[in-house]
């Protein structure tokens, strides 16, 4: 495969029991790109993401992460592939029994042999990055939904993965924090060359940072391109409506 795609999804079909959610989806993501997936609620965005990170097994198709097929990988290979990615789940999925610092430090403790001080420092700096340095010893249940999201992003970033998967990072954030988050994502992508795969509904952040967008509908990709292009001159009414926020 060419080196210019860091994520390559080929002919992916996915189903839950008797519900076909994704049908023959293919696309590529280039390194350093901010790639966004949009689509109506319940259309299968989270499903797509879960298949791309190997949590679910597709009924057909392949997903290549930095050249390795995560679908056919065995456990050892999969662990190696997973080290290259970080994931933030739609609801954060922080470990409820640990405080924020412990949450963020966990991957470091378990997957690296760094000394404890270094781990603390790194974890702290990641929390600072998302503006939560004052909340290190709070439990996830004690902070707001938006803070939980940011902490989850910090945890996803802690091993400096090449690729970050974010499921609706800005939903539940106020516009200012959301804009700050956009800036953070942009910086990370520009300065560290991190590739972002983001599921989002947030039009303003899509317009602000997305390099490329695909829109899912009825199991297929019905549009792809730059957000401006889709808003202005896409053939599909649905796509134009979505990007112009019309009923």
């Amino acid at each position: 495969m060419p080196i210019d795609a860091i994520i390559r999804v080929q002919h992916l079909s996915a189903q839950y029991d008797d519900l076909l959610v994704l049908h023959d989806i293919s696309f590529d993501v280039s390194p350093g790109e901010i790639f966004m997936v949009v689509g109506g609620s319940g259309i299968g965005k989270t499903t797509l993401l879960n298949h791309m990170i190997g949590l679910l097994h597709p009924s057909a198709g392949h997903v290549f992460i930095a050249g390795d097929d995560i679908i056919t990988a065995n456990d050892i290979e999969r662990t190696r592939i997973l080290k290259k990615i970080g994931v933030m789940y739609q609801n954060g999925a922080l470990f409820g029994s640990m405080n924020l610092l412990e949450n963020v430090a966990l991957p470091l403790e378990e997957l690296t042999k760094l000394p404890p001080q270094a781990i603390q420092r790194i974890a702290r700096s990641k929390l600072e990055m998302v503006g939560l340095s004052d909340f290190c010893d709070y439990m996830p249940a004690e902070i707001s939904g938006g803070m939980r999201k940011r902490a989850a992003i910090a945890r996803a970033m802690v091993l400096d993965p090449k690729i970050l998967f974010l499921d609706e990072p800005s939903s539940g954030l106020d516009p200012i924090t959301s804009a700050q988050l956009d800036l953070l994502i942009q910086n990370l992508s520009k300065m560290l060359g991190i590739t972002f795969f983001i599921v989002s509904h947030d039009l303003s952040s899509i317009n602000a940072i997305a390099d490329r967008v695909i829109m899912l509908h009825e199991g297929k990709i019905i549009a792809s391109g730059k957000p401006e292009t889709l808003r202005q001159d896409c053939d599909s009414v649905l796509v134009r409506k979505f990007f112009k926020r019309e009923a």
Binding site: Q15, D18, L19, L20, V21, H23, G40, S41, G42, I43, G44, N50, I53, G54, L55, R78, T79, L82, K83, I85, V87, Y89, Q90, N91, A93, L94, F95, G96, L106, P107, E110, L111, R155, H217, E218, G219, L238
Partner: protein, 373 residues
């Protein structure tokens, strides 16, 4: 004068079996049930064409429209709705208006028709397969953890130890005491008839050490520990915390299950000892009241019990602990999605643990019997 709720339906059948229903009045939540019955009765005889004359319906609400729609669904093309007034047609349209939020029109894949029995068998097969796989993983991961003690989550292990052991102590001691007292008391009368009251000590002591101790401990732990593990891990599953672990490249079995399983397996024999001790104390108290002093009691106990009885019980308790904790964790990890999933897992954890306790107990009975222990 109070306005009367007028509704009437007339049914009329022509020679070729075509039915005409004429409804007059208000077709609403209150009148539909009666009309519905009347029409069903009329439709019982075979009918080819149904025509509903709606000319005289002067009001219709959602129930009325639902009634009309149901008739249409049932007779499809053989149903004619005639003369529905324009205003009612408009109302119908308005009630039908939906917000279109681009709900997914996902394709339903045709299910292979499976009879219930087949589904049941497949389900059981899958369950057995899952359980065996899980036990294999647990065994493998336990070995790995024991080889590499640094890799164990010591903090979780400690927390599990505390949760399974000391916190369960009050209920264990209470139950032990009760069982000691009750079984001594109950055997006092029949044994007394033969003048064999002294042998109650053998009976209760041996029973507690070999069988009742491990069994009661295990049952208590099934209710207390297996359920709490299943609920705890199940909640994490629902919260996607398990997914997060997997994508971090961490094994949930190693991370969550192993510390709990090892802690429970270690704690169960200890709890078993406490249960036996408190049972024996209960027995001693009752025996004292029957006139046997503690010296006689201890002496008789010494005669009755052999070390291998005790070791047999302890080994059994260890395996009970292993099984209970494994099942609790497995049920938690296998939690499905939805609000009732955790409750279901918890129940399943307790039920499966109890069944497994019985099976394991049977196996041990057989082994001890053949070994002559």
């Amino acid at each position: 004068m109070e306005e009367q709720k007028i509704i009437s339906a007339e049914t009329e059948r022509d020679a070729s079996g075509n039915l005409t229903i004429t409804i007059a009045g208000r077709l609403d939540y209150e009148t539909v049930p009666a009309i519905w019955k009347q029409c069903l009765a009329a439709l019982k005889t075979t009918t080819h064409q149904v025509t509903l004359n709606a000319e005289k319906i002067d009001y219709c609400d959602s129930a009325g429209f639902a009634f009309l729609d149901l008739l249409r669904e049932k007779y499809e093309n053989n149903f004619n709705l005639e003369k529905l007034s324009p205003s009612l047609q408009q109302l119908r349209q308005a009630l039908r208006n939906q917000i279109n939020c681009g709900e997914p029109h996902m394709r339903q894949i045709k299910k292979i028709p499976l009879t219930n029995i087949k589904i049941f068998i497949v389900h059981i097969q899958k369950n057995i397969y899952d359980n065996i796989t899980f036990l294999g993983m647990v065994a493998y991961q336990s070995m790995q953890s024991l080889k590499n003690l640094k890799g164990l989550r010591w903090r979780d292990f400690g927390m599990a130890l505390e949760d399974v052991g000391p916190k369960a102590l009050p209920i264990i001691v209470l139950c032990g005491l009760l069982i000691g007292i009750i079984s001594t008391f109950q055997s006092a009368a029949p044994m007394g008839r033969f003048g064999a009251q002294i042998y109650i000590i053998n009976l209760v002591g041996l029973g507690l050490v070999r069988e009742m101790g491990p069994l009661i401990t295990a049952i208590l732990l099934a209710g207390r520990t297996a359920s709490s593990f299943a609920a705890e891990i199940g909640t994490m599953k629902i919260n996607q915390e398990i997914d997060a672990l997997i994508t971090m490249g961490l094994s949930p079995i190693k991370f969550l299950a192993i510390p709990r399983i090892l802690a429970t397996a270690m704690m169960t024999p200890i709890l078993n000892i406490f249960l036996i001790l408190s049972g024996l104390i209960g027995c001693a108290i009752v025996m004292k009241s029957l006139g046997f002093n503690y010296y006689i009691y201890l002496h008789q106990l010494d005669v009755a019990l052999r070390l291998k009885d005790f070791i047999g019980g302890t080994v059994k308790a260890f395996f009970f602990g292993l099984v209970i904790a494994s099942i609790g964790c497995m049920r938690g990890l296998k939690t499905k999605i939805g609000p009732s999933a955790v409750g279901y897992s918890t129940t399943q954890a307790v039920v499966s643990s109890l069944i497994m306790i019985i099976i394991v107990d049977g196996i041990f009975a057989y082994i001890y019997y053949t070994l002559g222990i």
